[in-house]
């Protein structure tokens, strides 16, 4: 992999451009993240962490500037192609897990594979390998609403990894976890990094920001990268 796996050049994001409720969330961001690294975006609430993570995660394109994610330049690209790039390269882990409570654990994990036309057998096979790795195999057929927070977190990780993406993004992953579970989460992230993935987290939890596995902290303040 190239050294600059994620490269942002003069990236700006303005929500509701041209409207009275226009918000300038990111301003002239220049950032390079190397492949196979683990970085953490840190900043106060409303500083633009989630927005930056969304651009890296190909959720929406930047308003201006150039973003190159896993070898693909994403300046103003239709939603359809962003989605295609996103599902091939990004695994998302959310603060509130975003697991569908009425589906089983297995169904939740294999959800990203449905529109790819992967048959039920192959879906199950892939999911079982991940569930084994994350030791939630015994929960496979439980409805997601019936399992504990820690297990839910691991279901979310399994879902993020089901398509074997090179980049894993996590937005405030430990905000709803206690100390032990947070440490366990960071261990899993470290394992993933060892397996060759690039990990990008956002957090203001010192447990993460001061975790030995985190190689680099990127401080964000009012939509700009803060250089101390």
């Amino acid at each position: 992999m190239t050294a600059s796996f994620v490269a942002l050049e003069d990236v700006c994001k303005i929500y509701n451009q041209g409207q009275p409720n226009q918000v300038r969330a990111l301003h002239n961001i220049n950032l390079v993240i190397a492949a196979n690294s683990m970085v953490c975006l840190q900043g106060a609430s409303g500083s633009g962490k989630s927005t930056l993570l969304s651009i890296i995660g190909c959720v929406f394109p930047p308003t201006s500037g150039r973003a190159t994610i896993a070898g693909k330049a994403l300046s103003r690209m239709p939603d359809r192609f962003l989605t295609i790039h996103r599902r091939n390269t990004i695994g998302f882990i959310f603060q509130h897990f975003n697991i569908l409570p009425d589906l089983t654990v297995l169904e939740n994990i294999t959800l990203p594979l449905m529109p790819l036309g992967i048959g039920p057998g192959a879906r199950k096979e892939r999911a079982e390998r991940l569930m084994e790795m994350l030791s939630i195999g015994h929960r496979s057929n439980f409805p997601a609403r019936q399992i504990s927070g820690g297990e839910l977190q691991r279901v979310a990780i399994a879902r993020a990894l089901i398509n074997d993406p090179p980049i894993v993004l996590a937005d405030e992953p430990t905000a709803h976890l206690d100390h032990t579970l947070s440490l366990a989460f960071m261990e899993i992230m470290r394992e993933l990094q060892r397996a060759g993935k690039t990990i990008i987290l956002t957090s203001h939890d010192p447990l993460i920001t001061q975790h030995p596995a985190v190689e680099r902290i990127i401080a964000i303040e009012d939509g700009e990268i803060h250089v101390p």
Partner: protein, 393 residues
């Protein structure tokens, strides 16, 4: 093919998602099945009635000649038969008496049909419509089910009397009763010999009410009818096909009118369906935003909604259509009887045999499923464009 597997997966998901929201889906399906039931029963009833009428009309003469005076029908002299001898292609001309007899005691109007069945082509086939198979001889009559019920009280009375215009009594014995399958035309009929009918109505001996013409080659009916009309300018010439079309016209009109009422019900349902499809719960919005951020396309969500619509329609259609079939064939369309059987020739107490044909099915499908699917497109699209980043907040 990849896109085929994709469709299969999305169908799979749409079924499970409908099942998870089964109470919401069930509401729509029940109402939809109800609307389909109403429309389909109605269509089946009209279709069955039309079929019944045309089956029986097939026995009617190919051409009927009636004498007209001052725009009204009057008796036709039998000598008109001779005038038609010049026309080639006529197989037979049979005089017929077709009149109405008013029964003062019950207030009912009977249709009296006087024919000489033995001189009439296919006359022997008439016997198939009669339970005893016997055609009426002198002083005998065959009764329709309704007439039989009134005159013989449904019992086994054999002798009964009717009044001539001068109030003298004419006595008949019962030769048989028309079978119930032919009720649609024979329910109120009294079928007797030509001479007895003439006697009952006090018609002169050389008169009938109309002349029935049988034609050798069915393709020549129109031509011969034209020739007859030219030869006998004071008559009205009616072909069997025209009678059949008039029946259909009246039926079609009635069913169309009722369809409009039913379409109102359909419109109400469409608004209901639109409303149901638009009202997304926060959970549903959340679900879609999650699907989208983990890699589902807007078009995938649209496809999902399409299959949900198809599933709802299919289930409702099968249920509604089956119930309609049961309603029409086993409960004799009891809901629509009053609307459809309003005109004089038709009477109740007939067994309807609905036919399930491709065309009829497609017709009901177009009237119900198409508007439903069309009404759900925009709500489905509104759901599908929920942005992926709303899952982040």
């Amino acid at each position: 093919m990849m896109s085929f597997a994709r469709q299969a997966n999305i169908i799979d998901y749409s079924l499970s998602s409908l099942w998870r929201r089964r109470f919401k889906s069930l509401g729509v399906m029940v109402v939809f099945a109800g609307v389909i039931f109403l429309l389909a029963s109605f269509q089946m009833t009209t279709k069955a009635l039309t079929n019944a009428a045309s089956d029986i009309l097939a026995f009617a003469p190919e051409i009927t000649i009636q004498k007209m005076k001052a725009g009204r029908q009057e008796s036709i002299p039998l000598e008109y038969k001779e005038k038609l001898a010049v026309i080639l292609g006529i197989r037979a001309i049979t005089p017929r008496i077709w009149g109405y007899y008013f029964n003062e005691t019950s207030g009912a109007n009977y249709t009296v049909l006087g024919l000489d069945p033995f001189s009439m082509p296919l006359g022997d086939q008439l016997g198939e419509a009669i339970d005893t198979g016997a055609l009426p001889l002198d002083h005998e009559a065959v009764l329709g089910q309704g007439v039989f019920a009134e005159l013989a009280g449904g019992g086994d009375a054999v002798i009964f009397s009717l009044f001539r215009p001068d109030l003298s009594l004419k006595t008949f014995s019962r030769a048989g009763v028309f079978k119930a399958e032919t009720n649609i035309l024979t329910y109120d009929t009294l079928f007797m010999n030509l001479d007895d009918a003439r006697d009952l109505f006090s018609l002169p001996a050389d008169m009938a009410t109309d002349l029935c013409v049988t034609v050798a080659n069915p393709n020549e009916v129109q031509t011969i009818a034209k020739k007859i009309a030219a030869l006998l300018p004071d008559t009205r010439v009616v072909t069997r096909q025209q009678i059949q079309k008039t029946y259909q016209g009246v039926f079609g009109w009635r069913s169309g009118f009722a369809s409009i009422c039913l379409l109102t019900a359909l419109a109400a349902f469409i608004i209901f369906a639109w409303d149901k499809a638009s009202g997304l719960t926060p959970e549903e919005r959340k679900e879609i935003s999650i699907l989208k951020i983990i890699g589902w396309q807007t078009s995938d969500v649209l496809t999902l909604r399409f299959w949900e619509g198809v599933t709802v329609s299919t289930v409702s259609f099968v249920v509604g259509y089956t119930l309609a079939y049961v309603h029409v064939s086993f409960f004799e369309a009891s809901l629509f009887r009053p609307v459809l059987l309003g005109w004089s020739v038709l009477h109740p107490a007939l067994r309807l045999v609905p036919s399930v044909e491709l065309g009829e099915t497609l017709l009901i499908l177009c009237l119900t499923v198409v508007p439903y699917l069309a009404a759900t497109i925009i709500p489905a699209w509104r759901a599908a464009i929920i942005p992926a980043d709303s899952a982040l907040n």
